[in-house]
């Protein structure tokens, strides 16, 4: 396990991103844009800016992401290379309003 991790850590080379980070804003516990388009089979980064005073957790089982972004702060969410399709995500602490979807287009 340790050796495997050590070996993997040597392979840090970042795969080329199609474009720069995709800017997404969270305000009043709503994502904007709430529908984010990415190219299928290409990793992407969402630059999430949380304009609310309180922390939020960007949470998605299908995207395999759990990331806390503190209040009035920002954080990058890495999106792995996806098969074409729709991948819902939510702000776990305000899931009644903080909902969104990543759409991987062919």
């Amino acid at each position: 396990m340790k050796k495997f991790l050590a070996a993997s850590l040597l392979l840090i080379a970042e795969p080329g991103l199609a474009d720069g980070p995709i800017a997404v804003t969270l305000q009043n516990h709503k994502f904007s844009p709430a529908e984010i388009h990415v190219k299928a089979n290409t990793p992407a980064v969402i630059a999430l800016t949380n304009k609310d005073a309180t922390a939020e957790e960007f949470d998605s089982t299908s995207l395999k992401v759990e990331k806390v972004v503190a209040g009035n702060s920002s954080g990058n969410v890495r999106i792995r290379a996806l098969d074409p399709g729709r991948y819902p995500f939510m702000g776990e602490y305000h899931s009644e309003s903080a909902q969104g979807v990543v759409v991987a287009d062919k």
Partner: protein, 279 residues
């Protein structure tokens, strides 16, 4: 109130199941409640710290501080669980024997209590920091009345603790000579799941970029978002759509654990007092 109840319930169960396994694995060991309590208190304090400094933590290591931190504490827990199991492999029989002798406190299990206290601390810290952030957020925005929030939180906590207690007492119905075999199996799967989760955090932090394609998808059968899926995720590391790196980490953790238990943790020969040098 309902959302507070649900979130607290979910996180308390996730930490509580791990505490339940640790308690069952240390049945009969003197002072174990003291160590477990210490682990819980440390975890709660840690959770408050992590929640308070969430922004600062996240901005470390080019924005990957949170992922690196989560992966590190998970791997620490994996190491502690492995140590416990390896140690138990050589002393477990002795413990089971002592446990069967009625009224006889087990004295052999004390060695790995500190390791298991760390595991408890890590579990409480991870789940607890989410609870703290969530509850703080509600208080800060003043949407729900504090009384309703407190009620939801307390109910969620009680329900979560209740389910965890059920599992603990369920485990205790296993006869003493089988109990440690069962808990050691549970701990192996728990550690494997944590190792896979650590890899996921390293991937999300950008540290591992290989073998990230999904290998199979069983979300149609059991969703990880449902309560059963979540519990299995915590207990045995169930993932509805694991990728290659996660699967390798999972299997490697099991192989390492069993390999060490076979080699390092060979059952000790029946204890014969060895005269000390100079005696």
């Amino acid at each position: 109130m309902l959302s507070a109840l649900l979130i607290v319930f979910r996180e308390v169960i996730e930490a509580g199941l791990i505490v339940g396994i640790v308690l069952a694995a240390t049945k009969g060991v003197p002072r174990r409640s003291w160590f477990v309590t210490l682990g819980v208190i440390g975890g709660v304090l840690g959770a408050c710290l992590v929640a308070a400094f969430a922004g600062e933590l996240a901005s470390l290591f080019q924005g990957s501080g949170q992922e690196l931190f989560n992966a590190s504490i998970l791997l620490l827990a994996v190491a502690m669980l492995t140590w416990h199991n390896v140690w138990m492999a050589s002393h477990g029989r002795e413990m089971a024997r002592e446990l069967k002798a009625a009224g006889h406190a087990v004295t052999t299990g004390k060695r790995t209590l500190a390791a298991l206290a760390i595991v408890v601390g890590v579990a409480v810290l991870r789940e607890g920091s989410e609870v703290v952030l969530f509850l703080y957020g509600i208080v800060a925005q003043g949407g729900t009345s504090n009384a309703a929030l407190a009620l939801g939180g307390v109910l969620g906590c009680v329900a979560g603790a209740g389910v965890s207690a059920l599992m603990y007492f369920g485990l205790l119905t296993i006869p003493a000579n089988r109990l440690f075999a069962v808990t050691s199996g549970l701990i192996t799967l728990l550690a494997a799941g944590m190792a896979a989760q650590a890899v996921l955090f390293l991937q999300n932090g950008g540290y591992i970029n290989i073998l990230s394609d999904t290998v199979w998808n069983t979300s149609w059968l059991l969703s990880e978002d449902g309560i059963a899926g979540r519990l299995l995720h915590t207990l045995i590391g169930y993932s509805e759509a694991p990728d290659g790196a996660q699967i390798i980490a999972y299997l490697a953790a099991i192989a390492l654990m069993l390999g060490l238990m076979r080699t390092v943790g060979k059952p000790a020969p029946r204890s014969v007092p060895v005269p000390q040098a100079g005696e």
